[in-house]
Point group: C2
Chain length 342, copies 2
DNA sequence: ACCGGATCGGGAACCGGTTCCACAAAATCC
DNA sequence: GGATTTTGTGGAACCGGTTCCCGATCCGGT
């Protein structure tokens, strides 16, 4: 493996000049630079990033912490972040984080605390203060995308307002018996995404003087997946009590599950049941699902750009995270919602 | 940031002893080891992996090259690999690789060629010889999981036999008009996964003296996704010509799309159309899809274990990649296939 | 009592870059 | 035309670990 010393020798210059020539920092005569570059090319020299980060303290590597890879939303974020990092010349180190447990501690105390990443992007996780501190104490910035991280900048859609909008859509169609399938899991945290969506739903229901409708309950926790929506949907729609005429689900995947459950129970969508989802899943169009769209791939890209800005690698755009501007969402009306039957 | 020298000073030993004590290599008196460890603990010392890899040449980092994150199969592989690497104390650096183009070259020539990874796992990609060489020339092992990599060890299911088994299942049910929705894309390579599955289908059809059935063609290329299967399904099933009574699809996602297309066209599954998929998608059970199961998460884990073995970190298990044993598959019969109508 | 090997610890070189500093030559200024 | 400033280059220190080599102890065996 050729080292920079070999390049220097071949080009007839010193190590320091070779370093300057290749990194572009400091004064180097154009002619010298070319000679060094040619020498590097000739012997197939590739700089060791380890050696460089050892002295500069920069690794050109960003850690991405994510609870699932195989949920549509998270996969999109990951792809968006990866693309953006790659084009900035950065590596992406993936940490697939369990909700909690010893592996989670290990990620924070061992993996992330080392000097291997310049920054951390935490996607859809609710971090504890201690966890945030572990990172920031080492001088590394951390950005929360979606989830919460006490004391760290956060980039997110306005979940509460978006959920309210979805609910409003159903209300305006004349529905009065409306159920909500909330996302289960870490949703215990009061400021979590799940809790905010449920709160937005409640806001509008209360404002309309309505109670969530459905048996055994008008608000049911469901796993954020298609099977999760299916089984919760069976409970809700299969109950012999008075059925809701509309459902607002915390994710499109849950919505697909509900639609499948409705189909199995012979309940027509939308004539007997309106369904509105949340996310803008790539299959929503195909299944005619009305939904609140968000743009996770773009969110991944924006998160990376924000972090690059912090690291001084930015293009000089606005810092959305500290500006506190919520990310984009849009109500997309399709064929799964219609006026309430009378 | 405390360095190992600080730990050594506090413990009253030399740098070298501190290093030995913390890494566990070489002779260190138990009492000394404890003193050093306690000192490290006290000042919150965390070793710099960069410094260590600089001298040892080991990075404890594996690169995973993957074409999609958001396809079920790949997401599962990624999760499996991540978990396995984490528990081995390794980092996973993700390279989301485009099919081809300048970014792809950049990944190989710049990102992977540097000394940042100890090994590369390429998932579901068909690598060119030049690309494999770039990696191996730097002394780094590369493992192909699924896809092909000329000259590199490969870990894969027997796609051809599995596809033949799926076809055989339909034949045994009495079907004679059978179509195949093949995976499109990189499938041009003769030994690619897509090509092998199609070949397995053809094998059995030929053996049974049958031609692939359907208009405009009995073998149609489809994007490996639900929308891809949907639109290919519409073409195949919507054609006024004689319809096939069974379809074998190259992936479960395509199969879901076909089922959706059949539903839209009023074609009952399985009474008017049997569908068999491929993969063992997590939703297959819910939709009653007969399929050839494979176990991508486990495959990711096995790939990691194989690589660990090569890196001398293994647990001493069998080296499946060089042994050439195909990975596990299983035919799971559900309600989407039934006897041919007569 | 003597010897050989196992055990323990320190000094120093080294991994492969970057950067500070010194110095010289060339360009710019008044 | 001398004083500055800018430009270009080399030497050497340094980042934070690991490891080689060497000397010192300690142990059991004879």
């Amino acid at each position: 493996m050729p080292a920079i010393g070999d390049v220097a020798r071949l080009a007839g210059v010193s190590k320091s000049t070779a370093s300057r020539a290749l990194s572009g920092r400091g004064y180097v005569a154009e002619e010298t630079r070319l000679r060094v570059e040619e020498a590097a090319q000739r012997i197939g020299y590739i700089a060791s990033p380890d050696a460089a980060s050892l002295v500069t303290g920069r690794t050109k590597n960003v850690g991405v912490v994510i609870p699932f890879v195989n949920r549509w939303f998270f996969g999109e974020v990951l792809e968006g972040a990866e693309r953006a990092l790659l084009s900035a010349g950065y590596d992406l180190t993936l940490y697939n984080l369990a909700i909690s447990g010893p592996e989670r501690d290990r990620v924070f105390d061992f993996f992330l605390a080392r000097k291997r990443v310049d920054a951390v992007i935490a996607v859809g996780v609710d971090l504890e203060e201690r966890e945030v501190d572990t990172i920031t104490a080492r001088g590394k910035p951390i950005l929360a995308l979606g989830g919460t991280a006490p004391g760290a900048p956060r980039l997110a859609i306005d979940d509460r307002a978006a959920a309210a909008l979805a609910t409003e859509h159903l209300l305006q169609l004349g529905h009065t018996r409306i159920a909500h399938l909330a996302g289960a899991g870490a949703g215990s945290a009061a400021r979590s995404v799940q809790a905010l969506r449920t709160a937005g739903f409640q806001d509008r229901m209360t404002a309309a003087g309505l109670e969530p409708a459905g048996e055994p309950s008008g608000v049911i926790q469901a796993d954020m997946s298609l099977p999760g929506g299916y089984s919760a949907g069976l409970q809700l729609l299969g109950h012999p009590g008075a059925r809701p005429t509309a459902v607002f689900t915390a994710s499109d995947e849950i919505a697909f599950g509900v639609m499948r459950a409705a189909e199995r129970l012979g309940i027509a969508v939308p004539s007997a049941l309106s369904v509105i989802g949340f996310d803008g899943h790539e299959h929503a169009d195909l299944f005619g699902l009305t939904t609140i769209e968000q743009y996770p791939e773009e969110q991944g890209r924006i998160a990376v750009e924000t972090v690059m800005e912090w690291l001084g690698e930015g293009t000089g755009e606005v810092d959305l995270a500290t500006a506190g501007v919520p990310l984009a969402t849009r109500l997309i009306v399709r064929s799964s919602t219609t006026a309430a039957p009378h």
